[in-house]
Amino acid sequence: MDSNWQLFLDSLWPLTQAAITASIPLAVISFAIGLAVALLMALMRISGSKVLSSVARVYISIIRGTPLLVQLFVIFYGMPSIGLTIDPWPSAIIVFSLNTGGYCAEILRAAILSVPAGQWEAGYTVGMSRTRTLYRIILPQAARVAVPPLSNSFISLVKDTSLASIILVGEMFRKAQEITAVTFEFMLLYCTAAGIYWVICLLLSALQNSLEGRLEKHVAK
C-alpha cells in the first residue's frame, strides 16, 4: 500500500505534465477547428441545396459511423500509401477536428434551428444580409442551446485524445502505459489518469455552467 502511494505520487507529475503539454492542447486546438468545420457542415445541411446538404450528410454519417481509432489509422498509416505522409501532431489535429466537426455539426444545426424564424426575419427587416443576420443575431442566441451538448462533446474529446498514442502522440494515457510497463501497476496508473481526466472535466463543467449562466440572461423567454 505504501509503495502504491509512493508510485501514485511519483506518477502524478509526469501524467499531469503529459496532460498539459499534449492532451489538453490537442483537445483545445482540435475543438476550435472542429467547431468551424461543424458550423460549415451545419450551414450546408440547412442551406436548402440538395447537393451541399447531401455532402454534409454523408460526411457526418461516416464520421459518426466509424470508430475514431480507425479514422486515426487511415489518416496516419493509410494516407502515405497515396503519397501523403503527415506528422503525428498534424494528423491527430486533422482527425480530431474532422471528428469534432462531424459530431458537433448536428448540435449546431439543431441550435440554429431552435432560434425562432422571426429572428431571421427581424434581421432582414433591419436590412441585414443572411450572413450578417447569422453572425450578429442567430449564432449568439443559438449558443445558449448549443453550449451544453458542445461541452459534452468537448469532454468526450478530452478523453478521446488518449487514442492519439496509436499515431505516436505521447499523450497522458501513453505515459500511464509507459509507467505501467515498468511497474505492472496498471490499475493504479489508469485510475490516476482517470482522476486527472475527471479534474479536467470538472473544470470544464464549471466553465460550462458559468457560460450558460451568462448566455441565459438575455435569451428570449
Partner: protein, 257 residues
Amino acid sequence: MSPSNQAASLLTVTGLHKSFGANQVLKGIDFTVHTGEVVALIGPSGSGKTTALRCLNGLEIPDACTVAFAGGPEVAFSAGFKPKQAQILRQRSAMVFQGHHLFPHLSVLQNVTVGPLEVQKRPRAEVMEQATALLARVGLADKAQAYPNSLSGGQQQRVGIVRALMLKPDLLLFDEPTSALDPELVGEVLVVIKELAQEGWSMVLVTHELAFARDVADTVVFMDGGVAVETGPASQVLAAPQNPRTQAFVQRLLHPF
C-alpha cells in the same frame, strides 16, 4: 385625415400572387398607398393578410407582382427573382411584427440602433440622438439599457416600433401589432400607432381591432380567400359594408357571443 385624391401615391402594388405549394393564398391583389395614408388590411384568419404584408417587405417572394415605390425602386417579381433583390424593398419599408421579435441578446438601445449603425452605416452621434428621442417619444427613455426580457409585452412592442422608425422608412408595415399582448397592454401600443398616423406616417396595418381601424385607418381593404373583396374608406367598409362576406366578418368580431 383622409388623404385628398390628389395626394401623391407612395406605393403601388399590382397583381400580387402567391402560392405555397398547391395552396393559392393570394390570387391577385392590387392596392395603392398614398403618402401619409393609413391602409388597414382586415379579413378572416388565413385570408392572406400576413402573407401580403410580408411580400411588401420581401420576407415572402411573390410568384408575380409589381411593387413600385414612388421615386423607385420598382420591383417586378417573377420566376427568376433572386431573394437578394428583395433587400432593396427593405430600404423603403420597415416591418413591425406581431411577436415583436426583438433581439433578446441586445439591449433596447442596441436593438434599435443595430440597423442604422451596422447596415445603413449612419454616423453614430446622429443615430444615438435619434434613438434617444424616439425612445423618449414612446415613453421608454429609461429603458435604453434594459434587455427585452425585462420589459412587458407592451414595452417590447413599442421598442419594436422604434426599431422600425429608426430605419427612416417611407412606409411602416404592422402585422397585428397588439394581438400577442395582454388585453390591458393593447392600449399603450395603439396609442403610439395612432399618434404616428396623426404625424403623417404612411402605413399598412393588419389588424383585428376593428374599432381601432375605424378610428385610425383612411382606407380599409377587406381580404377573403386571397382576394381583396372590398376596398374603401374606413368609415364605409367598417360601418356599412357592402359585401355579404365583409358584413358577416364585421358582425362576428363586434358581437362575438
